[in-house]
């Protein structure tokens, strides 16, 4: 994966709304990414992360800690492994989305 996992606090932003088409199918969300023509299926918490960045607005970048803040305002957060800090888990989710081109990653490091 191209995840910038070793860099300090990569920053991410939503794509312009027109780049994605999102539809709930059953318990997952199907998302059509127009620039690539690729369909992805997203499980929790990914749709909510996309929502959080979208609310922030396209082009406004946030790192994992800030995204955590944004979603913590609306949800109780629970990870699979209590030993893993939420921020680290979210950083992983965000890196995965950026690698697929589903969110933008800030060019300045």
């Amino acid at each position: 994966m191209l995840g910038p996992r070793n860099m300090v606090a990569a920053r991410y932003a939503a794509l312009p709304a027109a780049a994605l088409k999102r539809v709930q199918v059953g318990g997952l969300e199907a998302i059509y990414h127009l620039p690539s023509g690729i369909t992805h299926l997203l499980a929790e918490p990914v749709p909510d992360l996309l929502d959080a960045l979208a609310r922030l607005g396209p082009g406004r970048f946030a790192d994992a800690a800030e995204v955590l803040q944004l979603i913590a305002d609306r949800f109780d957060i629970e990870g699979d492994d209590p030993a893993e800090p939420h921020e680290a888990v979210l950083a992983e989710r965000l890196a995965e989305l950026a690698a697929l081109g589903l969110i933008a990653i800030s060019p300045d490091k």
Partner: protein, 292 residues
């Protein structure tokens, strides 16, 4: 090419050329109820000798056309009908863009369709053929076409390709011997025999129907019914579609709408009779739900 014919199945028009006369005669006979007049075809299929020598000595048919698979194995001339069927399938699978193409069978009643999909050997083809003899309209045993604009099912009722045990079952079911093609033995898929759909089904092949129920049948398993979640349907159908990705946004819209709008069940059944009965039962239950 030396010999040729045109065949229209549902919305798809084929031109078939052959180095030999026999395959064209067989096709004309098998497809006698379909439109056979000359058109500008959607696809060209070629049944050609693998080499000049092979036209005469141990003749072997290579499967070619607008779309080909590299390194595809040729078939002996005695299996030319199968070669033609595979070549036509291949054109559809790789080249069709007007509809979302699902590897599935379908039948309809009262203008509403049951779509049955599953891996090869799951029984979807035989089940559709059986239902087609028992008061349902046969819409197709191999490909189901979903119109992205209207959400309707477009029939593709090519002759059913019966394999092995299904041949005897359908010979028992269908009295009219004239509806069967020649028996093709020792093909790479075993023994194959084609069954022409009932003339009414072919006559109605341009009439679209509303999808109403999606089934994932599995033959030879103890009877069971399972609800299938929309997400699972979605993924399974993307994998049962050879042109989902190629259709881009239209494919996405069509398929998400499809899985969200109709109920889906996985059914396991031990034999054809049980399969038919389970489809009938699920159908009537759906009917009740729709009326309520």
């Amino acid at each position: 090419m030396r010999h040729s014919c045109f065949i229209t199945v549902g919305p798809a028009r084929f031109r078939i050329g052959s180095d030999w006369r026999a395959p064209i005669d067989l096709l004309r006979s098998l497809y006698r109820d379909y439109p056979l007049e000359q058109v500008v075809p959607d696809f060209t299929v070629r049944l050609q000798a693998t080499s000049a020598l092979r036209r005469w000595i141990r003749p072997a048919v290579s499967i070619a056309g607008d779309f080909t698979l590299p390194d595809a194995a040729p078939l002996p001339l005695s299996q030319a009908l199968l070669a033609a069927e595979m070549a036509m399938n291949l054109q559809m699978a790789l080249g069709w863009r007007r509809h979302l193409l699902l590897h599935a069978s379908a039948v309809s009643r009262g203008g509403r369709a049951v779509i049955m999909t599953g891996v090869s050997g799951a029984g979807k083809s035989t089940l559709s053929a059986l239902l087609g003899e028992r008061g349902w309209r046969f819409l197709g045993d191999e490909f189901v076409l979903l119109d992205p604009d209207s959400g309707m099912i477009v029939p593709f009722p090519r002759p059913v390709s019966l394999k092995n045990a299904a041949i005897a079952a359908m010979e028992h079911e269908v009295d009219d011997d004239d509806r069967f093609g020649p028996v093709l033995r020792d093909t790479p898929k075993g023994t194959i025999r084609h069954l022409r759909p009932r003339t009414e089904a072919i006559g109605l092949m341009t009439r679209e129907t509303q999808p109403a129920l999606l089934l994932f049948p599995r033959f030879g398993e103890p009877r069971a019914v399972r609800r299938v979640d929309e997400a699972e349907c979605f993924v399974r159908l993307t994998q049962a579609s050879t042109n989902y990705v190629a259709l881009g946004e239209r494919g996405f819209d069509a398929l998400t709408h499809f899985v969200r709008s109709i109920p889906a069940r996985a059914i396991d059944y031990t034999d054809g009779e049980e399969g038919v009965e389970m489809v009938e039962r699920l159908w009537s239950e759906q009917g009740v739900k729709a009326a309520a």
